[in-house]
């Protein structure tokens, strides 16, 4: 029998931290949002669409540019990697052919880092894109799942937990669709659309089964999170 890990802040393994999300906080930016999970807080601003694309980018599509600003220190390799992952994630959710030959800049400012930073940033960027009115296919909902030493899956770790766990995975799923169609009609491979993984970044070592369990737990958590997100976005209209 696997023992459930007791977490330092008293949460159960399946319980994510307190979430707070607010939109339209910056007035000069075309869209802005702040997203915080417990102590981790990220501020995202969207400027765009602006005319012209960057060099080496396809002019028949819109171009997305992500600028990641860390809380302290200079921009290094980790920031560039986060920028690249976020850029590719946002490119796959935006409708790039609606505004060709334009650039949309997403600026992400880390206010505080206490674990699960990249998922928080992706959620904030998504809310900011909604606030700016950038056309998207669906929203992206991100979560961090980690694997403890004995193989159990823990959701939304703090920074200390991330370092102590055997491995963790940042997972991004599309948000669940509210649809008038009957339930089984839009299945792909026997799975509904929101079960597909948009982005997955793992650190540390885990077995393939543990990874698939993380994905399963992440999906369930993201389904709940997307309901919360939908309500919060509709409320602040």
């Amino acid at each position: 029998m696997m023992m459930e890990t007791d977490r330092k802040d008293g949460r159960t393994p399946n319980q994510p931290r307190m979430l707070s999300c607010s939109r339209n906080i910056l007035h000069r930016a075309h869209g802005s949002a702040s997203w915080s999970r417990g102590e981790t807080k990220v501020l995202a601003a969207v400027y765009g669409p602006k005319a012209g694309t960057k060099k080496n980018e396809d002019p028949e599509k819109a171009c997305i540019e992500v600028i990641w600003k860390p809380k302290t220190g200079q921009i290094g390799k980790a920031e560039k990697e986060c920028e690249m992952i976020m850029k590719k994630t946002i490119q796959s959710i935006c409708l790039l052919t609606v505004n060709p030959n334009t650039t949309t800049s997403v600026v992400v400012q880390v206010v505080n880092d206490d674990g699960a930073l990249l998922p928080c940033a992706i959620n904030a960027a998504c809310a900011a894109l909604v606030d700016a009115g950038i056309p998207m296919k669906h929203l992206a909902v991100a979560i961090c799942c980690c694997v403890a030493e004995e193989g159990s899956v823990v959701l939304d770790p703090t920074k200390l937990e991330e370092q102590q766990m055997r491995g963790f995975a940042y997972l991004v799923f599309p948000n669940s669709a509210l649809s008038a169609l009957p339930k089984g009609s839009s299945l792909v491979d026997g799975e509904p659309l929101e079960h597909g993984i948009i982005t997955s970044v793992t650190h540390g070592v885990m077995s393939v089964d543990e990874y698939l369990r993380c994905v399963g737990r992440g999906r369930a958590a993201c389904a709940k999170l997307s309901d919360v997100l939908r309500r919060s976005l509709q409320k602040s209209e």
């Binding site: 080496n56 200079q74 290094g76 390799k77 980790a78 560039k80 990697e81 690249m84 992952i85 850029k87 590719k88 994630t89 946002i90 490119q91 796959s92 370092q163 102590q164 995975a169 599309p174 792909v188 491979d189 799975e191 659309l193 079960h195 597909g196 993984i197 948009i198 982005t199 997955s200 970044v201 793992t202 650190h203 540390g204 070592v205 885990m206 077995s207 393939v208 543990e210 990874y211 698939l212 994905v215």
Partner: protein, 434 residues
């Protein structure tokens, strides 16, 4: 590219619509013709609008490829299917490849299929031109037959070769080629003072360089974004971490890591506890970027670490570590023994192997080339180690991946891991024989 756009011949050629027109046209044009000839029958849009590209000389300064592409795309709008009536089949001379025969059959089928579908001989386009202008459709035609343009099946990786000891001045080095992608890894060792928190651990600094030689999109000056990202991913994969700090020591960023059970145990790099430890600088140079850069870089790093011979050192009178020389100075120096005479090679734990796959609709293409990577937006890199554990499942954005896809990618990576282990073993047994 052998598409013909007219230059000096005022008289339009090939007006006859007979099936032999193509052959007669080709026989009239000399082999190394630098002029581009266009026939009225080929591009009816040209025939209707008189003052277009028919009699214009190609601009000598503009590269001919760009000119041809632009002219064709202007004449035949990209959205309407051009459906060239026939393709001149360029059968590659690749008889030794396993898929060669099927590839020829496919290209013949493509030719015949196109002739049948459009009744009129409205255009004549070569395979190369179709490949450049409509790359996605070119690939989809091949994927429908479960084969790729270079003759591989969907799950097959390119030929991989490994050469150890490529850089003789380095303590460990390896040159890896996966298809055309070439990576050179070299390790230099230096003695340094370990930090106070980890007095008996060494340190490894990994840097991945993409010099302009590797690809036309990389220019001198700013490092390519891909280089920075690959550098970080390699550091993460090779050195797994418990607690991590980073120091910026100009210009290198050094990661002080604690290795739990990764490939390399940093405690092996210790010399004298608290006073001296090894610092290994691993530099990986990409010499040719043709897709799957991470796979080749990881393989070359692993090979370089396996090939590494730690230099023999000894402690001199002042308590400093110096290089050990066996020149036989007798007086007073006999007590100077090598500090690490027995410990010359690193023992590697679980070795990670990786495979990059490109996803397109329902197809998974293992080990994509740079052309495939640029067309297909979704790339997945799976890294597994020799004890069948998943080190990394890296999928930055792209199309949605379902569980079946995850399991398929993992299965392909396991197959590839067996091939790579064999290649690594062969390279080492070959070296030991020497």
């Amino acid at each position: 590219m052998k598409v013909w756009i007219s230059s000096k011949e005022k008289k339009p050629m090939g007006l006859d619509q007979s099936p032999n027109a193509r052959h007669s046209l080709q026989s009239r044009i000399p082999k190394n013709c630098h002029h581009w000839t266009l026939t009225r029958s080929e591009f009816p849009a040209v025939a209707s609008s008189s003052k277009t590209a028919v009699n214009r000389r190609p601009n000598p300064r503009r590269p001919p490829t760009a000119y041809c592409c632009r002219e064709i795309s202007r004449l035949a709008p990209p959205n309407s299917p051009p459906d060239p009536a026939s393709l001149v089949v360029a059968i590659p001379d690749s008889q030794t490849r396993p898929g060669a025969r099927t590839l020829e059959e496919i290209q013949k089928k493509v030719t015949m299929g196109l002739v049948d579908s459009s009744g009129d001989l409205s255009g004549e386009m070569e395979v190369d031109a179709f490949r450049r202008l409509f790359p996605l459709r070119y690939y989809e035609r091949h994927l429908a037959e479960s084969i790729r343009p270079d003759g591989r099946t969907l799950g097959m990786a390119r030929d991989t070769t490994l050469a150890l000891g490529a850089v003789s001045s380095a303590d460990g080095s390896a040159l890896t080629k996966i298809g055309s992608t070439t990576m050179l890894a070299a390790i230099k060792m230096e003695v340094m003072t370990p930090s106070a928190e980890s007095p008996d651990e060494g340190c490894i600094a990994i840097e991945f360089h993409m010099p302009p030689i590797c690809s036309p999109i990389v220019r001198p000056g700013r490092p390519a974004e891909a280089a920075v990202v690959e550098s970080k991913r390699l550091s993460d994969t090779i050195l797994r971490y418990g607690r991590m700090e980073s120091l910026d020591v100009q210009p290198r960023t050094i990661w002080l890591v604690f290795c739990s059970s990764g490939m390399i145990n940093l405690k092996e790099l210790a010399l004298v506890s608290g006073k001296a430890a090894w610092m290994a600088y691993l530099d990986i140079y990409c010499l040719d970027a043709d897709g799957a850069l991470f796979d080749a870089a990881l393989l070359s790093a692993v090979a370089a670490f396996s090939h590494l011979q730690i230099p023999v050192v000894s402690l001199n009178d002042k308590g400093k570590i110096v290089a050990f020389t066996e020149e036989g100075d007798t007086v007073g120096k006999l007590e100077k023994e090598a500090v690490n005479k027995e410990k010359r090679k690193l023992t590697l734990g679980n070795i990670p192997f990786s495979l990059t796959c490109a996803l397109h609709k329902k197809h998974i293409l293992a080990d994509p080339s740079s052309e495939e990577e640029s067309i297909m937006e979704t790339l997945v890199t799976v890294v597994m180690d020799s004890s069948d554990r998943l080190v990394s499942f890296y999928k930055p954005g792209g199309a949605l991946a379902y569980t079946s896809l995850v399991t398929d990618c993992v299965r392909l990576t396991r197959q590839r891991m067996k091939e790579l282990e064999k290649i690594l073993d062969e390279a080492f047994s070959g070296m030991e024989v020497d």
